[in-house]
Structure formats: C-alpha cells, structure tokens
Amino acid sequence: MATALQRFGRSFILISKRQFSNSSTSCEKKIAQQSGKSLNLYSAINQALHIALETDPRAYVFGEDVSFGGVFRCTTGLADRFGKNRVFNTPLCEQGIVGFGIGLAAMGNRAIAEIQFADYIYPAFDQIVNEAAKFRYRSGNQFNCGGLTIRAPYGAVGHGGHYHSQSPEAFFCHVPGIKVVVPRSPQQAKGLLLSCIRDPNPVVFFEPKWLYRLAVEEVPEHDYMLPLSEAEVIREGSDITLVGWGAQLSIMEQACLDAEKSGISCELIDLKTLIPWDKETVEASVKKTGRLLISHEAPVTGGFGAEISASIVERCFLRLEAPITRICGLDTPFPLVFEPFYMPTKNKILDAIKSTVNY
C-alpha cells in the first residue's frame, strides 16, 4: 500500500507544485520568515504528529497499520521514536477505534486516531455523532472528549473507484459539537493539524490524499499552529468570490488564472474549517464582489456548499448580482470509470465563473 500514491501521482501532473507558496496573510508571512524545508503533504503531517507526541506526553496515535507508517506513510517513524505504548496498531474496527479514542480523550489525553480512508469512517459514524459530539453537552460539561482528533484521507485520486475516493465532510458538518477541518497544502496541513490536536473540541481532520505526494512547499520545521474557524483569502479579486477547501482549491485556482485571461478578477477563499465556519470572511468578500461560486468534490445535493449558499443569501441578499453557483460532484455514487465526468473540473468552474459574471 505504501506505493499507492506513487501510482496515482503520475496522473496528476496537471497540478503545479508549490501552488500556494505565494500566499500572503500575516500569519503565513510569519511562518515563511522561518527557514523551512521543501516537504510534501504526508511528510508535513508526519512532522506535525512527531511534534504533537513530543510536546505532549499524553498524546497517542493509533489506527490500522499506523505503527508501520500507515498506508500513506503519514505515521512513519512514530512508533520507533515514541514506543509502542503511544503509537500502536488497532485491529480492523473503525467503530472501536473512535469509541476507544473518546474514552482515552475523556481521561484528559490527546487521542489521535487514524481512519485509513474517509470511505471507512462510516462504521464509526455513530461514535462520532452520538458519543463524541454530544459528550460535553449532555454531561453538563462534566465530561468531554476534546482531546480527540480523527484523521482520514479523503477525496479523488484519479482512479480510486467507489470506496477510495469519497468526500464525506458534509455528513459531519451537520453535527454540533465537533469541528471539521480540511487543509489545502503541506504548510497548512502541519499548522492546522497541530491546532486540531490541541483544540479542546473533538475534530475530524480530512486530509486530501490527492496531494499527499503531489503538493510540495516550504514547511517550517518548528512547532506552529494555524487558527481554526478562520478562512483565508488566498487570491484577491473584485468580480466574483470562489469558496472551497482542500484539494479542490488548486483546481479553483487554475480556473481563476484562466478567468483572468478573459478579464475576470476572481477572489479565492480557503474555508479551512467547515464547522464552525468563518462566515464573516466570506460575507465581506461577497459584499465586495456581488457574486459567489462554491466548489467541492462531494455530491452537490446536501453538500456543504448548500449551507454556505443559504447563509450568504441571508446575509448578502441585496448585494448579490447573480444566483450563487455550486460546481460540485454529481449526485451519483463516486464512479470508477467516469471520474472525469463526475469531478468539478477546472473547465466546469471556468464556465460557471463566466456565466455568473455575465448573468
């Protein structure tokens, strides 16, 4: 399994490396000042996990095959360094893995659980929704499992088929009591994961497996955190706002570049945290541009784009110049042979940008 992504990698040459290295928020500037090494996304995750275990003796990493480094190599070296009492394999039992993590976290520990693919998180759905999310509320704040972080690789990889490609984030965005976070790049992944691990709420952290090997950028070696529930404008523009998260942002950025050639100025926002999400940043942008496009890989119906759309209509109704557009996965199971048709591709986004601007 270790080489799974090498295979996938070849079909994704489209995505240029260091896509986001010119981002310019103050937070990132600070990070960039420190010297960093060029890292891909799985190595950045790996570094974050090393730091998490090193800085907190009560942090644990567990999941299927994690002590061997995991399917995507994210946990490489952890068991050797921190021992098999803190980094260990679990049997194949997702419901058990998450439930176990909740108990561990309830005793004041940092439980970092890995679900091998986001497609396999469903057996643990009940534990996340009914146990983790509501523990604090229903115990009147006596108990919580805030130390719990569930990591899972999500999204398309070119030919993953039905059970290695899904984007299940929307299911979890319907659950008050947990946070849902998705990073877009190695630097973001490291900082956001450390924030999630140290956040006092249970978090589901979806990692874009498409980018594990593909996305490479400078990642500072030191311990740093990026704020949760803060969206980031990664590209400024005046005609239309685009909102997305995770791997989809690089596709959206390509569409922005193409639109620019047609004289359309796009503002691109990385939401990063899906719940609780940063409505203000999106609202301010839409008030400026008057238009909004949302894009995600998950099927369009009931996707998190629907929630963003509804909220922005409530907040910006009089400022909108065109209907809000969603360019998302289709309302079908994730297909094996039809992936290019299913996916919210650059051209679909570009078309939608043009028709929204010319509405």
Binding site: T3, N89, C93, Q95, P123, G158, P335, V337
Partner: protein
C-alpha cells in the same frame, strides 16, 4: 447490447463459457470421460490434515472423488491461477485501474466450496472476488471486461475489480467495506429459511475482517433465528500488512463464535474444503449457523500497490508454494492415480493460457460504458441530472 453481440458472435469460444464446461475440449479428458470405466471409478482420498472442531462433530477425512472431478478441479484451479497472473500484468500495464486484489493461492477455497453446493445456495464475499465469481460460473470475458471497466463486464463495467456479481448463480458479490457483507449474508439466509427451499448462504470474510463488530452482531442474530448461514473465514494470515496474531487476541477463528460451532479446515486442500462445506451445509439446514475457518494463503500482496514482502519473509511464501500449493496437490494426486501424464497437464495449462489471452483480447474490444451510464442505477428513477465532459464539449447528457 454489446455483451450479447459479442457472446453470440463467438459462442463457440471456450472462454465465454463457465470454466468446467470448457473441460470437454481437453483431449485426454475426452478420452477419459468417454471411457465408461474411468468415469464410474471412485477414488478414495484422505484429506491432508484432520479437521479441528469446536462444539460439533468432525467430518471424516476420507473423501470420495472421480477422475473427472480431479481433472476438472485441476483445470479450474489452473484457470484461476492464470487469470489472476494475467490481471497482475494488466494492472501493471495500466489497463486495470483502481484497486485490485488477487486470489492466487486461495483457489482451493472457492472451488472446494462450489464442489459441495449448488447455484441455489448463495455466496457473498468481500473485494477479493474474481475467482469466487469464476467458480459460480462467470466467464473470463466478463471478468477481464469488468476489470478493465468495459461494457461486457459482469457489472457492465461500473463496478470494477471489487464488485463482481452474478444474480442467477446466487453470487451476491463483491463488497468493499471490510466485514459489511456478513450481516447481509445472514439476511439472505433468513430469506432462504423463510421460503423453506433448503438452501444455505456462505458468507466469506478475511482474518482481518473477523475483528469487525458487525460480524458478532450478525452471528448472534443468525444463531438466535437458527439461520442456514455458514460464515467462512478465509484465513490467509494477514489483513493488509498485519499478521493475524497482531490483530486478534485469539486467532482461532473457528472458535470465535463461542456458542456457534466451528471447524478448522486446510484451505489449501480442495477436498478438505469440499468435505467441510458439505458438512456445514447439512449442519446449517438442521441446526443453524456454523463457522468454517479456512487455513489458506495469498501469494500476491494485499492489493496491487503492496509488494507483499515487507511484513512476511520470502521463505515463508516459497515454503507455502512448495509444500501446500493447492494446484500442485491436485497435480500430484492426478499422477499418483495415473490419470494423466505430465505433458498432458502442461498442455492443459498451455490451453488455459491461450483462453485467458483470447478473453483479454476480446475484453479489450468491448467499449467502455456510455457516459450516460454514470447516472443510471442510482435510484430506480434518476433525478434528471445534467452533466458534461471534462472539456465541456464531449458529452452533454440529460438523464431520466
């Protein structure tokens, strides 16, 4: 439809027929089968090792077979082996995409089970399903087409390697989520019991899957309702890179039903598997569920991205190949009963190789599904979904 077109245009071709019907084309088999004396001969064979039982009797180690059965088993098993090796090459040539799990090494489980039951009995398994499908009467063309995502595939090219099905032969697939197929199997068994048709369901799962909670839920309900469900643990000793003992406190999977009886079976010995499945079917119809643990081995890595050599030694693999290989066991039996010469079996293997190559060539001719197929079979009726190709030019489909 392309599938029927292909099938009718070359209905003489061997690889379009289920494996055992292709048998009569083998010259020495014809000789053997046509000779009445040989056909009615019964051979008595001892299984490799005794069965180990948990809360039930053990079946006899003595199994009766015929020359025809032996030779058929050889051919079928060699076909499975060749097919999986060909799939490996197709994957490396990028003609098969997605995830692909091979069954070579485990052939005796699929074939021994088939030899004991009928197509009215149901089988449901996980993603390592190519050979189980072939055993149920699927064809090489359907298999290679499905693997390559072509219309002539058994799931019309929409399922791929992990999702083979054959409804008319009671094959319920082909499931991607580890362990999820076992409760489904118990549902099938309930329906069988309810209709009083004296059939059973074999629900297959791996040693890794044996640790999923839903197995125990399913087992309890099956025992409560006395369902004719046979839980078959194909213990190939690894769940991905994890050895059984790292994942299971008790790797005696046949005992893990506690209140449900179980049998441990040499899964590399097709006659032991056959004997156990026959025993289990009778038991299940009378008394309810039983667990069969098949001690087997997969030669390939877990899936195509696993070289299969980082968590086990090369010596271990070659040791199994030398001492326990299911095909070699049959080959030796054939020789010891003087049923065919070395050359005749080699010729059979050559023939198989040709059939496999022909099936692949034909599968490559089968077109990929129509893009509109993306929207079919989601519900009984579609949503009127609209879509278009990646470049916005190719296809524009507005569906029902």
């Amino acid at each position: 439809m392309a599938l029927t077109h292909i099938a009718s245009s070359s209905s003489r071709s061997i690889f379009l027929k289920p494996i055992s019907t292709a048998l009569s084309s083998t010259p020495f088999l014809r000789r053997l089968i046509s000779s009445a004396a040989d056909d009615s001969t019964t051979l008595t064979i001892e299984t490799s090792v005794p069965f180990t039982a948990h809360n039930c009797d053990t079946p006899s180690r003595t199994v009766e077979t015929t020359p025809k059965e032996l030779l058929t088993l050889f051919r079928d098993m060699a076909t499975m082996r060749r097919m999986e090796i060909a799939a490996d090459s197709l994957y490396k040539a990028k003609l098969i995409r997605g995830f692909c799990h091979l069954y070579d090494g485990q052939e005796a489980v699929a074939l021994g089970m088939e030899a004991a039951i009928t197509k009215k009995d149901c089988i449901i398994t996980a993603y390592r399903d190519h050979c189980t499908f072939l055993g149920r009467g699927g064809t090489l063309l359907e298999i290679f087409s499905e693997l390559m995502g072509r219309q002539a595939g058994c799931s019309n090219g929409k399922g791929g390697s992990m999702h083979f099905y054959k409804k008319e032969a009671g094959f319920y697939g082909g499931h991607g989520i580890v362990g999820a197929q076992v409760p489904l199997g118990c549902g099938l068994a309930f329906a069988q019991k309810y209709s009083k048709d004296e059939n059973v369901t074999f629900a297959l799962y791996g040693d890794g899957a044996a640790n999923q909670g839903q197995l125990f839920e399913a087992l309890n309900i099956a025992a409560l309702l006395d369902l004719p469900a046979i839980l078959v643990c194909e213990n190939n000793h690894y769940g991905m890179g994890t050895a059984e003992w790292r994942a299971a406190k008790s790797p005696s999977y046949y005992k893990r039903g506690d209140y449900v009886p179980g049998l441990k079976v040499d899964g590399m010995d097709v006659f032991a598997v056959k004997q156990a499945c026959k025993f289990a079917k009778e038991h299940a119809l009378k008394n309810g569920p039983i667990i069969l643990e098949m001690d087997t081995y997969r030669y390939h890595g877990h899936s195509m991205s696993d070289p299969g050599s980082t968590y086990r030694t090369r010596d271990e693999i070659s040791g199994v190949r030398q001492e326990r290989d299911p095909i070699e066991r049959i080959r030796k039996l054939i020789f010891s009963h003087d049923l065919a010469t070395e050359k005749e079996l080699k010729d059979t293997e050559k023939e198989i190789r040709k059939e496999v190559d022909e099936a692949i060539a034909q599968a490559k001719e089968s077109p990929v599904p129509e893009p509109s197929e993306l929207f079919t079979n989601v519900h009984v009726k579609g949503f009127g979904v609209e879509s278009y190709g990646a470049d916005r030019k190719e296809v524009r489909a507005v569906l029902p």
